[in-house]
């Protein structure tokens, strides 16, 4: 079985070795490594594509060790990893068409609204809504910006995480 992984490494000597060593040690075959130190993401990190081969248990163990190592996993077989974004909107969210707000959020690339908690108040202008979004890894900044735009258009106060 093969897995195509994309990792993000910090630009510090030894990072690539640290990423590859455990894979070999756990018994996975490293089939291909594409590493271009000159190519950097907007976060200043260096993406590395690694193709590994092994049976299911071996590959599971490799995935676990990557999680534990703290090295950023960006995608597995082309499927981007998810990160959670939380935001709170204050204002008459119901009056401003909740369905539309959710639709616009879901419409954003790589975004899925995972949770919504609505605290209605009287008057409705003081209602508060907590929204938890699952987004593709690396998109957080862009998405927080979009949430603000949507909120501003609807006259809602957007409280994003720091």
């Amino acid at each position: 079985m093969r897995l195509n992984l994309v990792l993000e490494l910090i630009d510090v000597p030894g990072q690539l070795l640290d990423a590859l060593k455990p894979m070999g040690k756990l018994g996975a075959n490293i089939v291909a490594v594409i590493h271009q130190r000159d190519v950097k993401t907007e976060r200043g990190t260096i993406p590395v594509q690694i193709t590994i081969e092994g049976d299911k248990e071996t590959l599971d163990r490799v995935m676990e060790s990557i999680e534990e190592s703290g090295i950023q996993l960006v995608s597995v077989d082309g499927v981007l990893r998810k990160e959670q974004i939380i935001t709170i909107l204050v204002g008459n969210i119901v009056g401003e068409d909740v369905q539309d707000t959710l639709a616009r959020l879901n419409h954003l690339e790589g975004v899925r609204v995972a949770d919504l908690d609505l605290k209605m108040s009287d008057p409705p202008e003081n209602s508060a809504t907590k929204i938890i979004i699952e987004a593709d890894y690396g998109q957080k900044k862009k998405i927080l910006k979009k949430i603000k735009e949507i909120g501003n258009q609807k006259g809602l106060l957007v409280i994003n995480e720091v």
């Binding site: 709170i88 908690d117 605290k119 508060a128 106060l157 409280i159 994003n160 995480e161 720091v162």
Partner: protein, 337 residues
């Protein structure tokens, strides 16, 4: 060192107080004798080359409400710019009330002093948030010291902290809680579950919020400070107008409760980086460095070498803010010796 103090409100009085308190200490430890050769407030001024008596000055202000009533040497209606022309001084301490419309009269005071080859120390956010580059350029051109630690975070070291203690680091961004009034209000609302209006009223009664709280609660005060930090620490060239500002007046107890459920607090955060300049209510993880309570200020600097470094301290207060002015005066003294 001969200093002229323009402005004798909370901070001006604090400076006089601190000078009186630390007179012997400054002499013994640093060989520094801070001589107040002039002081002015809206009523006029007082000039005395041999050095005003700080305690007498404070008492005069306390009892008569104006420094121009200082016995023997006070002059009613004396204009501040005239004082700067006539007085023989080394360093201007500019602590007049903040004006965020055009930064005057502080801007003129600072430029005049610098053009006359005098060092300046100020706590005044107005000119710094509106005309920073002009002031910085003038200081360089006239080869004088231009210091303003007291303008951001009160007693909390941040400007000098970034420049001196983190020298060699590239500071990528700054996050901060830079306004004590709003932090107090949000902390109270979180603790008591009270409404914004109710909590603001309480804060006003306690003197933590002003009678006209607009600049604080709408985030303008924090925005001035973020602009100053962006200019000074991040080497950007911005003014107050470029800061995206959202205050706390729309925060509700319901939103705070929702945040709490997820393990977050709502704080008014100022953020400055290469492409962001913003003051807005944000979700802050409970237990993270930004989760300070009450009237405290806090700043976290993200650096390349030292990673995240945080400072916290009292953001306001007469003597507290004056401590930052004293620190700047000492820095100038030690540089020039």
């Amino acid at each position: 060192m001969k200093i002229a103090i323009l402005g004798f409100g909370a901070v001006g009085k604090g400076v006089a107080h601190v000078i009186a308190m630390k007179k012997d200490y400054l002499q013994e430890k640093y060989g520094l004798n801070l001589r107040i050769v002039a002081a002015a407030d809206s009523s006029g001024g007082v000039i005395f080359n041999e050095g005003l008596d700080a305690n007498l000055l404070l008492n005069t202000k306390k009892e008569k409400g104006k420094v121009s009533d200082y016995p023997g040497y006070g002059v009613s209606g004396l204009k501040s710019l005239k004082i700067l022309e006539e007085v023989d001084y080394d360093c201007l301490v500019e602590v007049t009330p903040t004006n965020i419309e055009d930064g005057e009269p502080a801007l003129s005071h600072l430029l005049t002093a610098m053009e006359n080859g005098k060092d300046v120390v100020t706590s005044n956010k107005g000119p710094l948030a509106l005309s920073f580059r002009e002031l910085d350029d003038s200081a360089r051109f006239n080869d004088v010291q231009f210091r303003f630690e007291a303008s951001v975070g009160g007693a909390m070291p941040i400007i000098n902290f970034a420049h001196e203690n983190l020298a060699g680091c590239n500071i990528e961004s700054i996050y901060g809680i830079l306004n004590g009034t709003t932090n107090y209000i949000l902390s109270r609302m979180a603790k008591e579950g009270s409404s914004y209006d109710q909590t603001l009223k309480e804060a006003q009664e306690m003197g933590i919020a002003e009678t006209d709280p607009y600049q604080d609660v709408e985030g303008i005060d924090a925005a001035c400070k973020i602009a100053i930090l962006a200019n000074s620490v991040l080497n950007r060239d911005v003014t107050l107008k470029e800061v995206e500002v959202e205050g706390i007046s729309k925060i509700t107890p319901e939103s705070i409760a929702l945040a709490k459920k997820e393990g977050y607090l709502i704080k008014l955060i100022g953020e400055a980086s290469r492409d962001v300049l913003e003051v807005s209510p944000r979700l802050v993880r409970q237990g993270s460095p930004l989760a300070v309570e009450g009237t405290m200020n806090l700043a976290t600097l993200k650096t390349d070498l030292a990673e995240d470094v945080s400072v916290a301290g009292k953001g306001a207060g007469s003597v507290e803010t004056a401590s930052a002015i004293l620190s700047d005066l000492l820095n100038i003294w030690r540089t020039k010796k």
